[in-house]
């Protein structure tokens, strides 16, 4: 059917479908968006749901199974797991945003420069990018987190520094594509400064591709943070889903108090799946072929 559509005569009144039209007709993308909105709301309204669990609770309420009073039960310190999970959403979103910021700050300039300037600069920068891509992420993260100290900012820095190559590659590919377009040639001929061409013309073209990659990166970031927290190298002052799992594992109640391990695991899964679905929706929305009449 699609191929047939390609040969249809387009009348003057027919317009290509808009991004939002395609996106909101992409079921998985909408599911992802709903999931993300839910996490954002959860993070924003966490203080209204309850104070951040700290220290220890009542000894009589240690390792209680889920109930109306404690939706997700309590942990080995008698603290409410639901509140830990809710406050953990804040950490996850904060962490994801910081990783994306670091990755964009490094990856976008590298990708733009590599794509815009000649062969040698591009090859050199892509060589560096490939080098970073080959680095084993988890051992490096563990090492850097151990050296820099356990804080959410440091973990984000570590993950960001190791994740920018993905953004750089996408940006470079988009830049190379843009470079072949006539309006860039025209801008060059008019003597418009390189910085302006990159910022005003090339970057807007590449931004849609970068957006798709950043949504995927959010999912990677939370997985990395959970891994580091589970290994005990996360920020001890905030709740994160990895930290809840680590507490259950350390206390030897992983299976005994299953609620301490099940709920944070489900939330990690939902968070990652939501962002992956969301990025699928965006990709579909940005794909010109999907937007054909």
């Amino acid at each position: 059917m699609k191929n047939e559509n390609r040969f249809m005569i387009i009348s003057q009144n027919d317009k290509p479908k808009g991004f939002f039209y395609v996106f909101f007709h992409h079921k998985l993308g909408v599911c992802g968006l709903c999931g993300i909105l839910l996490f954002i709301l959860m993070a924003i309204f966490a203080p209204m749901l309850g104070d951040m669990p700290q220290g220890y609770g009542d000894f009589s309420s240690v390792q209680l199974a889920p109930s109306a009073e404690h939706f997700f039960g309590t942990d080995a310190m008698g603290l409410d797991v639901f509140l830990q999970v809710v406050w953990g959403a804040r950490t996850s979103i904060r962490m994801g945003l910081m990783v994306v910021l670091y990755s964009i700050l490094i990856g976008v300039p590298v990708g733009l420069i590599a794509g815009f300037f000649g062969k040698k600069t591009g090859e050199f920068l892509m060589g560096v990018t490939d080098l970073f891509l080959t680095l084993p992420m988890l051992p490096l993260m563990i090492m850097m987190a151990a050296i820099l100290g356990p804080s959410i900012e440091n973990v984000a820095l570590v993950v960001g520094v190791l994740s920018w190559p993905r953004i750089a590659r996408v940006t470079r590919a988009a830049t190379l594509e843009a470079m072949g377009m006539q309006y860039i040639e025209a801008a060059k001929c008019l003597g418009i400064p390189t910085g302006v061409i990159l910022g005003k013309h090339v970057f807007p073209y590449a931004s849609s591709f970068i957006l798709v990659e950043t949504t995927m990166l959010m999912a990677t970031a939370i997985l990395a943070e959970s891994g580091i927290s589970f290994l005990g190298l996360g920020d001890p002052t905030v709740w994160s889903w990895g930290k809840i799992l680590q507490g259950a594992q350390q206390n030897g109640i992983f299976f005994q108090a299953w609620w301490c391990s099940l709920f944070p695991s489900i939330f990690i899964l939902l968070f990652v799946v939501s962002f992956n679905f969301f990025s699928l929706g965006i990709r579909e929305g940005l794909n010109p072929r999907s937007r054909e009449i």
Partner: protein, 550 residues
């Protein structure tokens, strides 16, 4: 086409090389024996596999300050003059007899005459004298330094008599040196260039029931039984001991259930013990002769203020700490002398340390000039600085990490900000030795008053004095214990020390816990846990008495 063929050939060669590389562990020692040993650990006859949580700090028996693997491995290979039985009573080991002169200045050990080192060299008094030279004169052994500092000279009138002449009387010297100093073979160690940093990781020549066969740091340690050990005339059933390292107790318990290990060499938490008991695993229990406590570094300006230390002691709800740390499996301590030695406590031991009193702690801090001037809930000193300090804790000890959470909250309630720093065990040991902390939370492996353990750890000149700055009352009481010439004087010294510690508060004792080890009854039986975490199920006598496969 030709190029493609060569490329294909090259790829095939590379693939084969990679496959060949997969077969090697990369460890030459392991390649020959180890890989096979590890694979057969469970099935081979006479192999007992034990689970542990961290590498020893060192395999050098003099330099170790590690209350777990460091001293287990030292005791398995090297003998001491005296030892403790399953009731913690002192008994002869390689000494047959010992005595103290009336004035307490001369200590004599008579040695067994039928002993030889693992390489066949006879054991003589020269070995003891040389060990004293290494540990005392060269100052290598932090745990016996304070006792050996008292030795003026060592006399060896014959091959089987050692006489220590002391510079001052000391009643606790006999047991302190007798039980804590590992005796080394002179003919081996006199050829060691730098004994303090000697790794001692190959060809160990000792006199214990086992010797190190091989190890890979962070993974495993394999010990092999020696022939004809002095206390096992009929041989040792556990011919090979494989100690495997696990990151935490939970993984170790899973390893026990998976059949990877036969016994846990480290004590387990109450939850895990109950879980394993329910699944039919056997449990060996004993009392800790040590205790969990907070140690202060008085070099920190806040902690140097006695009011702050008093407030910390008053702010901590020890009952809650005990509940969350070990599920109440132990006893709260209000004195530096553990309830395990209740006979040595003063009559008013319970009232020596300031009692739990949150309002009282706040009042003490207010009186000392601390107030919350910036409204952040944390008190400030006169210069505006937040009343904040760190506490280092071993990260894979859940009793300690849970306890630290409670302590942090308790201190927060009185306006003190405690930064809990979770460290890997060997990093913790090193930082504590370097006094690189503000406070620490840890358990003594053993702290026996009559054996001079207080002197070892609380004499300000001791290499294992972790409090940074000397406190007069405590130092005076320690010196009184050290110079006691008889039991009465030593007990009086202990009482004085108990009061001085509560006055200076350089430590806050929290609780004494019960130690529980789990084992697979089908793989091993006749398991006896000796008192204190330093010994437990890895005491040489306990290991050689274990029966396998029943």
């Amino acid at each position: 086409m030709k190029a493609n063929k060569y490329l294909l050939l090259l790829s095939m060669i590379l693939l084969l090389l990679m496959l060949a590389a997969c077969g090697s562990t990369g460890n030459t020692e392991t390649d020959e024996n180890g890989g096979q040993d590890m694979a057969q650990a469970q099935s081979a006859d006479g192999t007992l596999t034990l689970g542990m949580l961290a590498d020893p700090d060192t395999l050098n028996p003099l330099a170790t300050t590690d209350g777990n693997a460091g001293c287990w491995f030292a005791a398995m290979v090297y003998p001491t003059l005296l030892r403790q039985d399953e009731n913690a009573e002192v008994e002869p080991y390689i000494a047959t007899d010992y005595g103290v002169s009336e004035d307490g200045m001369v200590v004599t050990f008579t040695l067994r005459e039928d002993l030889q080192w693992a390489d066949g060299t006879p054991f003589t008094s020269a070995d003891v004298a040389y060990t004293k030279y290494l540990a005392g004169d060269l100052g290598i052994s932090p745990t016996t330094a304070s006792a050996l500092d008292l030795v003026e000279s060592v006399e060896t009138p014959d091959d089987y008599t050692v006489i220590f002449h002391l510079s001052q009387p000391s009643y606790s010297f006999v047991t302190s040196i007798g039980v804590r100093l590992y005796i080394l073979p002179k003919h081996i160690w006199e050829n060691v260039e730098d004994p303090a940093n000697f790794l001692n990781n190959t060809n160990q020549v000792g006199m214990g029931p086992y010797k190190l066969a091989e190890y890979t740091e962070g993974e495993y340690y394999i010990y092999e039984a020696v022939e004809n050990w002095l206390d096992a005339p009929n041989g040792i059933q556990a011919k090979k001991l494989v100690f495997r390292i696990y990151p935490d107790v939970n993984t170790m318990a899973l390893a026990l259930q998976n059949g990877e290990i036969d016994i846990t060499a480290r004590d387990l938490s109450y939850d895990l013990i109950e879980q394993l008991r329910g699944k039919g695993y056997e449990i060996a229990e004993t009392n800790s002769l040590g205790f969990t406590h907070i140690g202060f570094n008085l070099e920190n300006e806040f902690i140097n203020d006695l009011a702050v230390r008093q407030a910390v002691a008053m702010a901590i709800d020890k009952d809650t700490v005990l509940q969350f740390a070990v599920k109440g499996q132990g006893e709260v301590m209000d004195s530096i002398v553990s309830p395990a030695f209740s006979g040595l406590q003063t009559d008013d031991a319970e009232n020596l340390y300031p009692a739990y009193d949150v309002e009282g702690a706040k009042a003490v801090l207010a009186e000392a000039g601390y107030s919350d001037t910036d409204g952040d809930g944390i008190l400030n000193a006169a210069n505006g600085e937040n009343l904040s300090f760190n506490m280092i804790v071993i990260s894979n000890d859940v009793a300690l990490t849970n306890g630290a959470e409670v302590i942090k909250q308790c201190l927060k309630d009185v306006g003190i900000d405690l930064e809990v720093m979770l460290l890997e065990r060997t990093t913790f040991i090193q930082r504590r030795l370097d006094i690189d902390f503000d406070s620490y939370l840890a358990s003594w492996g053993t702290m026996e008053p009559m054996m001079g353990d207080f002197i070892v750890n609380y004499l300000s000149s001791s290499p294992v004095y972790f409090n940074g700055v000397k406190c007069d009352a405590t130092e005076e009481a320690v010196l009184a214990m050290q110079s006691a010439v008889n039991e009465e004087e030593l007990v009086a010294g202990i009482h004085a020390f108990e009061k001085a510690m509560a006055q200076d508060i350089i430590n806050v004792p929290l609780y004494m816990q019960k130690l529980s080890y789990a084992y697979n009854g089908e793989a091993v039986s006749n398991v006896q846990a000796y008192p204190s975490a330093m010994h437990g199920v890895t005491t040489p006598e306990a290991l050689v008495n274990m029966t396998l496969g029943e």
